[in-house]
């Protein structure tokens, strides 16, 4: 048999879950084999041995090449802490000195990522949305990639799972869940005052939802967070971010004042748009984090 078709057949089996190991030869010691007559175990075909050894050699060469390219780049970087580095210019000084005055955010990092560099954050949010879209394209279940037998088996397993929930996990979820959600909301809403902000707070919210889903099952989460909520929230949040900020990007940040007063630094309703943008980013991140979990584990949201 040709080596390539052999390998791709194995890869295909492995991806489809029919074979446990991609390279069963490499894992022979893992599981005790059922006793077989010795005569049937022959040496591997020469071509397979050649392929396996050359595969490892090529992988080693590629990795060493990558590492040397990266190390060479590090060697070419400017030295640490030298005064005429490209990174040492008036921008940093301006952010630190005028940041509070111009953005109204006590947390200078929030002022940077959501005001001076708001374009970067829009890109990050779009990347998250793109990632969850690709995962959904690959893993979401519909009538074309499931068959009735499989669905029956899965429904059966779900019923068994519902009756055998882990009590320790459930009790801990009941205790921890309110604290986690409250902390996530606190981190999002306090993004301009204290460390944190949309991304970290959204990740905490998403982790709380994941904990609840693994403790009480997806069906309980579906009662308040289903596909429709997911779509609405992500669309509204990303669109809101875009509408609030794109006008400023298009004009090269030479925009008219928003009209929202910056407020007293340190108050919760201060720093203008940053407060709203933090909520938008938090919603997107929380939805995508839970979306990844749900689509990966169940193939649906």
């Amino acid at each position: 048999m040709n080596i390539e078709t052999n390998f791709f057949k194995r890869l295909n089996d492995w991806v489809n879950g029919e074979a446990d190991r991609l390279f069963p030869e490499l894992h022979e010691t893992d599981a005790p084999k059922p006793p077989e007559p010795v005569a049937t175990i022959g040496p591997l075909p020469n071509k397979d041995v050649l392929f396996l050894t050359s595969y490892q050699a090529v992988a080693l060469i590629v990795v060493i090449g990558m590492v040397s390219i990266l190390l060479y780049t590090v060697y070419k970087l400017p030295l640490f802490g030298v005064a005429d580095n490209p990174a040492v210019n008036e921008v940093v000084e301006r952010y630190v000195e005028k940041g509070l005055e111009e953005t109204g955010a006590v947390n200078v990092v929030a002022g940077m990522i959501l005001d001076y560099r708001a374009f970067d954050t829009l890109g990050e949010s779009s990347v998250l949305l793109l990632a969850i879209t690709s995962v959904m394209m690959l893993l979401l279940k519909d009538e074309k990639n499931t068959d009735p037998d499989e669905e029956l088996i899965e429904a059966h397993e779900a019923v068994i799972e519902d009756h055998n929930r882990d009590m320790i996990l459930q009790t801990m979820t009941i205790i921890l869940m309110p604290a986690i959600m409250l902390y996530g909301i606190y981190v999002i809403l306090n993004g301009h005052l204290s460390p944190g902000g949309g991304f970290s707070g959204g990740a905490i919210l998403g982790a709380g939802l994941i904990l609840f889903a693994s403790g009480f099952g997806h069906n309980r989460v579906k009662k308040f967070f289903n596909m429709k909520t997911f779509r609405t929230l992500t669309t509204i949040a990303l669109l809101g971010y875009g509408v609030l900020k794109t006008y400023s990007f298009l004009l090269g940040a030479n925009h008219l004042p928003t009209g929202i007063p910056l407020g007293t630094p340190g108050a919760i309703f201060s720093s203008g748009l940053i407060f709203v943008l933090d909520i938008c980013v938090g919603l997107i991140v929380a939805c995508t984090m839970y979306g990844f979990f749900s689509v990966f584990s169940r193939g649906e949201i």
């Binding site: 879950g17 944190g196 902000g197 990740a203 982790a207 994941i210 584990s297």
Partner: protein, 84 residues
Amino acid sequence: MNVIYELILIVFLFVCAIGAFLSERLLIAVVIFMSYSLVMSVIWALLQSPDLAITEAAVGAGVSGILFFITLKRIHALKGTKDE
């Protein structure tokens, strides 16, 4: 005192990084990777960037580990569980 604490953390970071790819079972590799993220988040906090510390703890030690676990479950690579 602080220097010794930081040194211990960095040694632990190296041990985790090497251990993660030397471990034979993928489940153990993921757990070691999560502890690597936890140590890294403490180091971020010591380097006075609490923003990164919170994000690293939530994403690195929490969500990405869970995603790895689910992937292992989907490809039936979790040994010693009911799933196998």
